[in-house]
């Protein structure tokens, strides 16, 4: 039941418990209780809007930075990851397999601002061996949502 609820909310966080209870044919109080539990045990971490900032006045650039690290004794990469993710401009930090160790997604107002972050904050960290910054030129799809979807026009014919 919980995974069904999660799937629905992951797709549309605005669904109300009442709507979910009808869609899944479950008692409303059970749905409400399940959602409360999922929220309090940290399975549901939050609800956010997906914003296409390109459609607004606000200037914004996104960059993905590949970071190579020297692991610390006993702590592996955790301590360095923490140092990095505490910066508010850092949107996500992933530990990766392969050619580099951390993938850091950062958002800034301008390329200059991002470059400043990399050179002044990220690169000087002792354990950081190297960085490679890739600027996002255009988002096509993010968290399963298409950014360039044409307006929702129903072109289906009415044949049967």
């Amino acid at each position: 039941m919980k995974s069904e609820i999660l799937k629905l909310l992951e797709n549309d966080a605005k669904l109300s418990p009442a709507q979910i209870s009808v869609m899944l044919d479950l008692p409303l109080d059970e749905v409400t209780a399940a959602i409360t539990e999922l929220e309090s045990n940290g399975t549901i971490l939050g609800y956010k809007a997906i914003v296409d900032w390109e459609k607004t006045e606000r200037e914004s650039v996104t960059a993905m930075i590949d970071v190579k690290l020297t692991p610390q004794k006993d702590k592996g990469f955790d301590r360095v990851a923490e140092k990095i993710y505490n910066y508010p401009e850092v949107k996500s930090v992933y530990l990766m397999s392969g050619a580099y160790d951390l993938s850091v997604l950062i958002e800034g107002k301008t390329m200059k601002e991002v470059a400043f972050f990399v050179s002044q904050k990220l690169a000087p960290i002792d354990e950081v061996i190297s960085t490679a910054t890739h600027f996002v030129l255009h988002k096509y799809k993010d968290t399963g949502v298409l950014y360039d979807a044409t307006l929702d026009i129903d072109e289906r014919g009415n044949c049967n």
Binding site: L8, V22, M23, N158, C159, N160
Partner: protein, 387 residues
């Protein structure tokens, strides 16, 4: 030119499908929320589209054999065996058609001629009676009722059979009512037919869209395969309406004749679509599940939504339509739907478009997003409250 003298009277006297009526009006208006469309809102899954594209890239732009590629016919047999426990010889008993519609057409035309009767339960999809008439036959309409959850009963069937009856159309899961026939109910129908020389044209295009239980094909019931023509297709299950691909399975003496009609008027079904369909049947089961689960959630949502507004419907068990009873509002289906459209900008299809027994009802499609359905329900509620 006096076209009136030239045109076939049978065709001229055939009515246009009533499904489009309000849709056409809706197209001329702004901000209408429609629940009229009888096709999935999903796009064909990407891996299936890709298979079609790849076939084009590889230059597979020829006609296939008349009955369709052998690979696809083999997959159709495997699918029917896997899903419904019925098997057909891909060599002789399967024809790939241009949608389920062509399958219905060639099946009726191969069997029916002047004087023959075809029993058609209604409300049902609109094509069976016109095709029967165009073949020279006589449609014998059997009205199903709300009380019977729009199922065909053995008694009603028995009463409709005459010495001229050649065929029973069995349109379940049903468009527009959402009714299904369970195995036990089909046993009752089979019991009536076993001692007759009547064929069943089983239109199973919505077979994947059943909720709470799996579809049962009448061909899987003892003694019925030899007297059944199964019509189905890819449109609904795989969201492939625009590819125009269906199929027909029947005993070889029947398909041999049907194939002649198909050969002369179609040649072969679209090749690109056939390659996409092979991929659909090989690797599409999960996509079907995902879509059917979503329809099921919407089905519950709209059923409860209508109930909350005070409109009763029997809970649909198949297809993606709900058929609420609007008779309680003292208006004809046409008036109800027209007022709802003009005054509250919500379009649904009057039940009478689907033949006798549909008056007093309306068809609402839930092949739409929850958000869209919610909006439509708000408008229906406002309308009903104003009455």
């Amino acid at each position: 030119m006096d076209y009136g003298k030239l045109l076939s009277k049978t065709v001229v006297n055939t009515e246009k499908s009533g499904i489009r009526k309000f849709f056409d009006i809706m197209e001329t208006m702004n901000d209408v929320v429609g629940l009229t469309v009888g096709q999935p809102d999903f796009v064909t899954p990407w891996h299936i589209r890709e298979a079609g594209i790849e076939s084009l890239e590889k230059g597979k732009t020829y006609y296939t054999s008349n009955a369709g590629t052998m690979e696809l016919r083999v997959e159709i047999d495997k699918y029917l065996t896997r899903r419904f426990g019925i098997s057909y010889d891909p060599e002789k008993e399967v024809i790939v058609t241009v949608g389920g519609s062509e399958a219905i057409d060639i099946a009726i035309r191969a069997i029916i001629e002047a004087g023959d009767e075809v029993i058609i339960p209604t409300p049902s999809f609109v094509c069976y009676a016109p095709i029967t008439r165009m073949a020279g036959g006589t449609p014998v309409i059997v009205e199903t009722t709300y009380k019977d959850k729009f199922k065909l009963t053995p008694e009603a069937l028995k009463a409709a059979i005459t010495p001229r009856t050649k065929m029973l159309v069995l349109p379940y899961p049903n468009n527009p009512t959402g009714a299904i026939m369970t195995k036990e109910e089909l046993e009752g129908i089979a019991e009536v037919l076993r001692d007759t020389n009547v064929l069943v044209l089983s239109d199973e295009i919505y077979a994947e869209m059943t909720y709470g239980r799996d579809h049962c094909s009448i061909a899987s019931i003892e003694g019925m395969k030899e007297r059944t023509i199964i019509v189905s297709g890819f449109s609904k299950a795989y969201a492939m309406t625009g590819w125009r691909l269906g199929y027909l399975c029947a005993p070889a003496p029947l398909t041999e004749q049907m194939l002649k009609i198909h050969q002369y008027c179609i040649m072969s079904a679209p090749t690109t679509a056939q390659f996409a369909a092979i991929e659909a049947m090989k690797n599409g089961d999960d996509d079907v599940r995902m879509m059917v689960d979503e329809y099921n959630r919407r089905r519950r949502y709209i059923y409860n939504g209508l109930k909350g507004i005070g409109i009763e419907s029997f809970e649909p068990e198949g297809a993606f339509y709900i058929f609420p009873n609007i008779g309680q509002f003292g208006m004809s289906s046409d008036d109800f739907c027209a007022k709802l459209l003009y005054d509250y900008k919500c379009a649904i299809v009057p039940g009478n478009a689907f033949g006798a027994g549909g008056e007093g009802f309306a068809r609402i499609s839930y092949a739409y997003s929850i958000k869209h359905i919610t909006q439509a329900l708000e408008r229906i509620e406002a309308f009903v409250k104003s009455l």
